[in-house]
Symmetry: C2
Subunit: 342 residues, 2 copies
Amino acid sequence: MTRFNGLDEFGLIAHLTARYRAALQKQEPAAGGVLVDIGDDAAVLAAVAGEELLMTTDTMVEGVHFLPETMGFADVGYKAVAASVSDIAAMGGTPRYVVLSIAIADAVSLPDLEALYDGVAAICSDARCALVGGDVVHTPGPFVITSTVLGGVPAGTAVKRSGARPGDVVFVTGTVGASGAGLALLQASGVLLPADEAAALRTCHQRPLPQVGAGQILRSCGATSLDDISDGLASELNEIARASQVRLRIDTARIPLLPALQNFARSRSEDPYEYAWYGGEDYQLVGTASPFAFARALAQCESIGVKLTQIGRVEPGDGEVVAQFPDGRIDLVEPRGYNHFK
Amino acid sequence: MTRFNGLDEFGLIAHLTARYRAALQKQEPAAGGVLVDIGDDAAVLAAVAGEELLMTTDTMVEGVHFLPETMGFADVGYKAVAASVSDIAAMGGTPRYVVLSIAIADAVSLPDLEALYDGVAAICSDARCALVGGDVVHTPGPFVITSTVLGGVPAGTAVKRSGARPGDVVFVTGTVGASGAGLALLQASGVLLPADEAAALRTCHQRPLPQVGAGQILRSCGATSLDDISDGLASELNEIARASQVRLRIDTARIPLLPALQNFARSRSEDPYEYAWYGGEDYQLVGTASPFAFARALAQCESIGVKLTQIGRVEPGDGEVVAQFPDGRIDLVEPRGYNHFK
């Protein structure tokens, strides 16, 4: 069978590994730590003295997590690894090593897979980590990709979800909701936005950049909780509130939205905040810190070009999230968001 | 939707995590190293001073890697993690932490998933490692499971495939071919073997025990190369020969076969060695060592109940494997075995 130009499983792995290496835009910063690379039974990796390890995994299924119409294979490769890198960022850590497993559907071509590994190289360059292994199998069903990322964090400093305390500031990095709006835009017909605004929303959906630098700053400044926005602000805030057993009071007018998102929602007579609360896949960070720690982190994040915005405060409570609207109305925010099997 | 007794994604993860913990037969030896467990963005894990890290991943797809008729869900959970643990064993390492991703097909029930996590608990008990995270998603296609295992090995001692030297002994642990014969038996009709022999072959296929202890002994005794038998003896020996740029001469009469395998093959008028060469999924170890190192490892492996058998020797060469038969005939062994896309 000559499905992949006659490449068998081992040939395909070698081909895609070479493709990944050629596509790397920068030196892999972790490369010095890779002692035995792709090709043996397991990768051998240097540990960093004084660090604890962070490990996380994410799976994306075609037709469930992405559609061919909204995500090219390069985007899929980028975003699959970005989702795991974002989990490392949400602990305040440094992503270092990636292993990638793909189950290849019948309709997938060699150029598709090459594009996938170009996308993986792009996120590995952006997040300064290295692909060190994986598995490549066939599936009669839809394409499935699983990314597992190993990272490090100075011992005893990982930022959990459970440390929010009354009096803390609630903050987010960047803006929220653009990824969900980008998806809606990709599925919409007609011209709804100027080209640059449309491109900005699409990029937020297809190539979300995990906030590794901001996570490290927030950790070193003493953030008390941190989570990444994969399922939407409503879901993540509820996770922090529940894990910390506090009430988070959110001032909705302070939630930072991209102007392109506001224009997009206006063009469809939608509430732009719906995308922020329930859209998900922004891969921004949301968390809490003392006012003093927040002020320090704000300045340091600004120095790396990341905007940190206070969106509320922490109060005594029992694990709930309330939204306070400009008209004075207050609502309980349910933890709904993207959720399998619901 | 009440597909899993009304559990949503988060409830399902909590339910299966509890199931895993309840099913653990022994204390997780790595549990002391788990600083932040399942439930936050990423697991936080202690590194062991003086060790390097080992990382490997394996994916199994229903209908490709296993069939409902031959593998129950508990077997699937066991074997998926065992495949990755075996890769750690093949580096001479210690498996410590597991993350597991499952893409759940429509036909899968909650009892199926509970059985899966019972199997995961069984292999984690057997291999003394801990499940520390994962992902649970829906797929419209076949069930897919991806296991990623993180292990450790004393710095600078990981056993690669590339160190075989002329004069070395070629060895295997245990017996070879029983997994492939077990699969054939599970797919056959009629009574072909006594019940105890049939059960032995089935167990070799459904619950292969990775050779972690033997791998550690072989590493500490100075084995020059090591590989685990996932694709069959022919494929793994060729990998060692090619990586080490030597010739491996195998004395076929010395390849250790389970009596049950010999009886099974005889009952079907098959060559039992075909299962050893090309069956795969034995998850035994194959490798090379100096005669002195081999003698030391032989005694130590015997003390933990693992048989080590010399099956050949290493000669100068260019990466080939030759088989020498009892009748004096010599054949080149092609690296075929289980291979996707071929």
